[in-house]
Amino acid sequence: MWLPIAFGVLFFLPVGVSAQTTNSCLDCHLVLDPPQKVSREEAAKDIHFQKGLNCTSCHGGDATNDDPNIAMGRAKGFKGKITRAQVPALCGSCHSNGSYMRQYNPSLRTDQLSLYVTSVHGKLFAHGDTKVAVCVDCHSTHSIRPPADTQSTVNPVNVAETCSRCHGSADYMKGYKIPTGQFNDYSKSVHHEALAVRGDLSAPTCTTCHGSHGATPPGVASVSAVCSTCHVFQAQLFDASPHKAVFLAMELPGCVTCHSNHLIAHPTDEMLSTGAGSVCVKCHLDGDAGFLAAQDIHGKLKKLEAAISRSDQILDQAESSGMEVSQARLQQAQGRDALTKARVTIHGAQVEQVNSDVQTGMNVAEATYQAGVAALAELNYRRKGLAVSLATIILVLIGLRFYIKHIESPSTARHGDSST
């Protein structure tokens, strides 16, 4: 047993993992099998190692001594493997200490532990449940990277996957009485597409709505508050709408009732209709005020969409015939903006509000349609002008031909002239 260790010591002695003093722990643990193994890469990239901390900062013991009995001895404060139950307190012993953390990064928050105890994880943990998430489950043990690092498990782009390691596993979550399809649902959502696919870091992930250290699902009344941090207009309109009071009374969460919480798909006009895909008919009965309003609004949106499309078509036609319609195309953008605005205004559930936006859009669509008509009329005018020009040219050509024939006819032939 000493042989591999001695071999390891001789072989890896020159390797200074993070520029500091030699680390007798790594000398062995780099080559041991898992679970004792710490990989070289982990050791190099881990933020604690990079800041000059080492194994003994958490595990105790003595890293300068090659003798395992001393290095891992009780006398040097060696704690051995840290159990799950010990983790939060251990991490918090530094990370909640403001004056200690200040030496490393003054702007790092130090309230993680205090938030944790308010979270669902923390509360269950306090009751002795060690299956719940503790610090290392999300941050990893020896390869902790700052959240800004794209390879960090807590980088916004990776957070959903990190949470789903437990919350997506039906097996692991057995006995907790909460669903495990959230990650699947979220993966199909527009937010996931924005964040993970398009790289838009402003899009929300699990922690944006649930919190990270204080992770708790938002209460029914506060769901809309969460969504409204980005979707301000929709929230304001909703709060002023008749739905707000009703939803509160029926204990329905605001935005989620129509848009779902995790599987937030791209909204369609069909959601406002009264047919398939409608969310209104989930509550409204056939013929009631809300039902009729939904029909009205849906009809108006569809009308505007059709008007914009009609304009697009005529502009396409003009453009493919060679007419220049870029100014009209620009104006079309305003029409599309009006349609987008109308689709936001529906959250106020007032037909007149939606109507005014629709009307703006219709005016623009009408103007661009007329521009297309004018372009086609201009095209016609050009072709007529061309026909006139060609006619005059042909006149000239006929005249020239007869003139040539005339001056070259046999009756006027002279020596040197040639007949045609």
């Binding site: 838009d200 870091l201 402003s202 899009a203 941090t229 980005c230 979707h231 301000v232 207009f233 870029s326 620009l330 903006d337 987008t340 936001v344 002008g385 006139v388 020009s389 005059t392 040219i393 042909i394 006149l395 000239v396 050509l397 006929i398 005249g399 020239l400 007869f402 003139y403 005339h406 001056i407 006819s409 009756s411 006027t412 002279r414």
Partner: protein
């Protein structure tokens, strides 16, 4: 166009009837005149400059002095994209692109908080276009403002 030979006129001994020659003459003369008009008319109209001096891709008169009150703004077209002219509370004009750098919605000026706001996802910019809160990843492109007489001219910043 043709050089008439003064020596021997074809008309003198031509067996053709004079009417026929006149007919061709009309064709040729009339045709030449008509085709000349059909060329000259477009050219002369072309030479007359149109009412609008240019498409305003580079610089445009955004507003007149006195049009904006302090703490208000105006969206106007600069070339192909919308732009924003703000008259701040301090009396300074600021001009910037009105296309939000997040998802291209058109931004607006909020007088009560003195900054530029995007209604789509609550992005905020200060009056120099810097993105200060919310999703926008980049600042808004800045434009130069010059007051010329009673015209406020906004132009793209000179680059190489």
């Amino acid at each position: 166009m043709s050089s008439e030979k003064p020596v021997h006129r074809p008309s003198d001994d031509s067996p053709e009837k004079p009417e026929r020659r006149r007919f061709f003459g009309m064709f040729l003369g009339g045709g030449l005149f008509a085709s000349a008009i059909s060329f000259l008319y477009p050219i002369l109209r072309y030479l007359v400059p149109p009412a609008t001096v240019d498409l305003g891709g580079d610089s445009v008169v955004a507003a007149r002095v006195g049009e904006l009150r302090r703490g208000s703004a105006k969206v106007f077209p600069l070339g192909n994209r919308p732009a924003l002219l703000v008259l701040g509370n301090d009396g300074e004009y600021h001009a910037m692109s009105a296309v939000c750098t997040h998802l291209n919605c058109t931004v607006q000026y909020l007088a009560d908080v003195h900054n530029v706001w995007c209604a789509c996802h609550n992005g905020r910019y200060d009056l120099t276009g810097r993105n200060i809160s919310g999703p926008p990843p980049r600042p808004l492109e800045q434009f130069d403002v010059h007051v010329r007489g009673d015209e406020i001219v906004v132009s793209r910043q000179r680059n190489s």
